[in-house]
Subunit: 315 residues, 2 copies
């Protein structure tokens, strides 16, 4: 695919309500979360990672996930996903009406143990348990699964991740999930991936896996300034969904002052320049970004928000 | 050219000593400028826009250009260029030993009048006068010319710039400069260009101009977060030189707090990830960036400098 002819459409997956809200030390009031999410929907966001069904003791920021989901689960035209760390979380998510589950496993054994306190094999067993549960549903086709492969490019402990390490986790995961509607995200957890590494890994996906039910996504951070470039290189090598966070809300776990997920508004600006359809109104998205950036305790990083609003045509 | 196979080499053109030093209100001490430039050369920078031969009344920051050039003009393996606004500046530059002249004309009539207080036609006449002078030299082949086409994508006054507007200035400029060793830079003066617009304009250059003596360059800003992506899209569509500023020194004339030229270290990080040869040692470049970022009154913006140094492998 030439750089001159980008795909006509890409799914923008907004992760501020999960990655972003979780990064704020003191849990936000539920009503404020709901106002922020409503502002995102008003801007035209249609895919949203709305939160996590995790232990409120481990992650108090997500203790109100049930209320948050209840506020939005019946909205037509909005695709909500929730992160579930295990079968128990999946049960809670399904009971809440969530139709898309996000499961995370890191490609790096070291990072997986640090992140979810178990080895990759145990995480894959957890994935299998969730999939087994999905197969018992009357409407298995009605539930989507998103698999986030953390540290697909770089690990904060082990450094660069080569393609065979990704495949070593991806292959058994695909075996486990056969027949389920699946989207796999290669996640640049540290922000250290370069555009060429992103292009290489996505081109390998395209060469090796040609199952029409599979979709590919890229989840990136802008910590090293590669955010927009990495997302576009993924797009031109087969990604059909891109994870971003409005206002760049998120911060970076290892580096105070470093940025979080690539800002939704920065990526949307780039995509609209190529006439890629996202369904998002950039002006209203910036209004949502202003609200999110005003959250107490939030760490944000957005290029578009740093320029005077009148410089943004039509905003 | 596939995104998987970038060119083997690209010229990194460091513009901090011109765009950057000029952006600092109170002129820097000459000795400090020399120390910063030396640090850049120590990092492996081989192309440098070292300053401007302009009226010291108009631009006091460049009053010491003669001393600066004298300190570096005899360095082997270093290609120095200096901006010259007119024939008088060109004469001074040539007398100082400079072998590459940079001439700026904006594609936008409005911006050209604002920037250099004359119309585009008068600027082109000024270019012709310089070229005529070059043709009288004993060694015309020994002098290079760089033509910076300002506002090649967007004008702060007129908005988006379409390709025919670029061509309307480029075509007569190429006629004027025939036979001279020329590099033409499309400059994203405002930082508002998107990667797809960059790809489009460079692909037009490649289609229409096939003179082997011509080289193409891209001069970008990171104000809207497009810096690295725009540079890479230019690279994959024929640019063989990329202008950048270490530490992102420069600031933005219209937006306090907005960023200046794309940071050299951010772009070099991206390029090295694709094994593109730049000749630059990233660790030493970051040392130069630290020195530049410490300049009093300087406004900088660098992603790489914002992460802990130990996260940068081998730095």
């Amino acid at each position: 695919m030439s750089l001159l002819t980008p795909p006509a459409h890409v799914d923008i997956v907004e992760v501020a309500p999960r990655d972003g809200f979780q990064s704020i030390g003191d849990p936000l009031p539920t009503a404020e979360k709901i106002r922020c999410i409503q502002a995102l929907l008003d801007a035209g966001i249609t895919r949203l990672e709305i939160g996590s069904f995790v232990s409120p003791r481990a992650v108090p920021q997500m203790a109100d996930i049930g209320e948050i989901v209840a506020a939005f689960v019946d909205r037509p035209g909005v695709r909500l996903a929730a992160l579930v760390p295990n079968l128990k979380g999946a049960e809670l998510a399904l009971a809440s009406g969530i139709r898309e589950l996000v499961f995370v496993v890191s490609v790096s054994e070291t990072h997986n143990r640090s992140n979810v306190r178990q080895g990759v094999a145990d995480s894959l067993a957890g994935l299998a348990a969730i999939v087994e549960r999905l197969r018992t549903l009357d409407e298995p086709g009605g539930i989507r699964l998103r698999l986030d492969l953390g540290t697909s490019f770089d690990c904060p402990f082990d450094g660069r991740i080569a393609w065979p390490q990704v495949e070593a986790v991806l292959a058994p995961a695909l075996e486990t999930t056969r027949g389920i509607e699946l989207e796999v995200a290669l996640c640049d957890t540290t922000g250290r991936a370069t555009p060429y590494q992103v292009a290489e890994h996505f081109s390998r996906l395209g060469e090796r896996y040609r199952d029409g039910q599979l979709r590919w996504a890229f989840h990136g951070h802008d910590t090293y300034g590669m955010g927009v470039a990495n997302a576009l290189f993924a797009l031109h090598h087969g990604a059909t969904a891109l994870d971003v966070s409005t206002a760049g809300l998120g911060g970076c776990p290892f580096a105070p002052g470093a940025t979080g997920n690539t800002a939704t508004e920065d990526l949307v600006y780039a995509l609209h320049g190529g006439r890629v359809h996202t369904g998002i109104d950039l002006c209203r998205l910036l209004q949502a970004a202003d609200r999110i950036a005003a959250l107490p305790g939030g760490q944000t990083a957005s290029h578009l928000r740093s320029v005077p609003r009148e410089k943004l045509t039509k905003c």
